[in-house]
């Protein structure tokens, strides 16, 4: 079973520029979470802070009792072995072939025989669909392949926590869909806690159990996916609909004057653009046939049912709807 990640009051600045402040959330063990946010809101910085590559000024990140911000370097190094991180552009070692890249964590951390390593690595290469390319250097393959190789390397040590930095960037829609399914299947198989940072709406709508959004130096919300998907907070609804109208501007936030002008224009046009049809919550992806039942999903169900009282009305309805067919015993 995966490990719970508890983030408390995290604040990070680069020099004078504050990236985000007072971010607190809990990634429930074995569940899939997505962190959304417009480009440049510090999503990648957040990932790197969780794994201890960047040191926020305030707050804690607790994993198995180890604080990834303030604990000793030795403890942090040990805890990192529980992680698999998929970098935005793969971050493969340029001087090694794909095979050696993917075998690297095994060779560093285990005393497995070369034949055993070969078996595990080829299995992972098969999962991400790179069979036949294992002898190539990272410079000789496309960005999408590099990304998948990065995922294979992140998976090779059977991590308890998997962090994905924009798994979709550089992938075509079909491959993105495959990747989404792959992430869910992985979660069903190894029950790892997963955090995906992305701004891809398809992934956001179909993959996660929980969703959060970073905007304007703050965590807007974090909770069960239905809460965000049905939210009428202007930032969230603008982002999920991919509209220009709303508080998110080209640089980051719009100023009051622009917003007021926009409002007026909408009013004069009968406000058709902003009042979108009530968003329907797309059902979450299920593991492929033959995969085990996702333990994280079962745990989540109990957790969400317990917190039902605190959720907004729309989210409550969506959750009940999503669990209605399942309650019929289809998945048990």
């Amino acid at each position: 079973m995966g490990i719970e990640v508890v983030v408390e009051g995290l604040t990070k600045s680069f020099g004078k520029q504050n990236i985000w402040q007072d971010v607190s959330l809990t990634l429930p063990a074995g569940e899939v979470s997505v962190m959304l946010g417009p480009s440049g809101t510090g999503k990648t910085v957040f990932l790197k802070s969780i794994i201890g590559l960047l040191k926020p000024e305030q707050g804690r990140v607790l994993i198995n009792g180890v604080d990834m911000v303030n604990s000793s370097e030795r403890d942090i190094m040990e805890t990192r072995k529980l992680f698999g991180l998929m970098f935005q552009d793969g971050a493969l070692f340029g001087s090694m072939s794909l095979f050696d890249n993917i075998a690297f964590p095994l060779r560093e951390h285990t005393r497995k025989k070369e034949s055993e390593i070969r078996r595990i690595v080829m299995e992972r290469i098969d999962i991400v669909g790179l069979l036949g390319a294992e002898g190539k250097l990272p410079g000789e393959i496309s960005g999408g392949m590099r990304k998948r190789a990065g995922l294979a390397r992140a998976l090779v040590l059977d991590p308890q926590i998997i962090l994905c930095d924009e798994p979709d960037s550089g992938l075509d829609p079909v491959r993105t869909a495959y990747l989404s399914q792959l992430l869910i299947d992985l979660n069903a198989q190894i029950d790892a806690t997963m955090l995906i940072v992305t701004h891809n709406l398809d992934i956001a709508a179909t993959v996660p159990d929980n969703m959060g959004m970073l905007f304007c130096r703050n965590l807007v919300t974090f909770g069960p996916r239905e809460v965000l998907l049905t939210s009428d907070t202007p930032v969230v609804s603008q982002f999920l609909a991919g509209r220009r109208e709303g508080p998110i501007g080209m640089s980051e936030e719009k100023d009051a004057a622009t917003l007021a002008a926009e409002q007026q224009r909408n009013d004069s046009f009968g406000n058709t653009a902003t009042i979108a049809a009530p968003r329907t919550v797309v059902p979450q992806l299920e593991p492929s046939p033959g995969m085990p039942v996702r333990q994280g999903a079962l745990r989540r169900r109990e957790r969400v049912m317990a917190m039902m009282g605190q959720l907004p009305e729309a989210a409550r309805t969506a959750i009940l709807n999503s669990y209605a067919p399942a309650a019929g015993g289809a998945r048990a």
């Binding site: 504050n18 590559l53 070692f93 390397r153 040590l157 304007c216 930032v235 508080p247 409002q263």
Partner: protein, 285 residues
């Protein structure tokens, strides 16, 4: 429609950012003045971290051998080629000086001492920092900007232990061995030029050599080479691990690494020479 997204109560953003702005100049001014000190401190910290990581298992033997071979292969030939003219220049210069003073019989001792104690470690320093250090710095720097080092750290592998330690040890060992090579080649070159070109007598050359030179001269020469190798390795690694901004930053880092190493090595050489001359009495004095 609210202008800003809802913020956590009790933490109004504008107030916070204003507070940090008013604090900023107070924090900023010393930081710019102390920047060189901070870099120096980081350099020492890296030196200590590498010193500690040397004894941590598992030792990266493969990487060490590869790096050793690489450093040796880029330095041996230039070292040998540089040391012959260097030995010759010293021999000719000392020879003509001693001729004027009428102390021609001491040419051998004087030129050999100069080659072993000064010329040879300095040539080592130039080659190790210029050829090996720049390559190490560029290698680490490009790995850093491509996030390879981050990826390594994320996998629970310390780049210092995995990459920096084998490189520093390789430069140290190559420096010591290279110093021996240069001493021999330089001395032979000096002998050749003194005996053939300046009509010195082989007997006088060797006799004065054994009259003036002593074993500690060789020891201090090797010790200097060891220290130079360490400094060159650490500085190259330090600059390579902290490049500023993209590929251009790596180029700048390599440049800085070579310049900083040169300055440090010449300074350290001066200090070591001064200490050595104080504590080890000259032979036959």
């Amino acid at each position: 429609m609210p202008v800003r997204p809802p913020e956590p109560p009790g933490k109004p953003l504008p107030v916070l950012s204003r507070a940090s702005e008013s604090k900023a100049p107070v924090q900023r001014r010393p930081s710019r003045l102390l920047a060189p000190l901070r870099e120096t401190g980081k350099l020492f910290a890296l030196g200590i971290a590498v010193g500690r990581a040397i004894f941590r298992r598992p030792f990266q033997l493969r990487e060490f051998i590869e790096q050793f071979w690489f450093v040796a292969s880029v330095t041996i030939l230039p070292a040998a080629l540089v040391s012959i003219p260097f030995g010759a220049v010293i021999a000719l210069q000392v020879g003509s000086l001693t001729q004027q003073l009428g102390a021609q019989s001491f040419t051998g001792g004087a030129s050999v001492l100069a080659v072993i104690q000064q010329a040879s470690p300095i040539i080592v320093a130039l080659l190790i920092s210029g050829a090996a250090g720049s390559a190490i710095c560029a290698d680490l720097g490009s790995r850093k900007i491509r996030e390879e080092l981050d990826a390594m750290e994320v996998m629970g592998v310390s780049p210092i232990q995995r990459l920096v330690v084998p490189r520093v040890l390789a430069t140290m060992l190559v420096a010591v061995l290279l110093n021996g090579l240069i001493s021999v080649v330089g001395t032979l070159g000096g002998y050749f030029f003194n005996v053939i070109m300046q009509d010195g007598t082989p007997g006088a050359y060797l006799a004065s050599f054994s009259a003036l030179a002593q074993l500690p001269d060789l020891y201090v020469s090797e010790f200097k080479a060891l220290i130079f190798g360490f400094i060159a390795g650490i500085v190259a690694a330090h600059r390579g691990l902290n490049p500023r901004g993209g590929p251009k930053g790596v180029g700048d880092a390599v440049n800085q690494s070579v310049v900083i190493t040169f300055m440090l090595l010449f300074f350290v050489n001066m200090v070591l020479t001064a200490i050595y001359l104080q504590i080890v009495p000259a032979k036959g004095g």
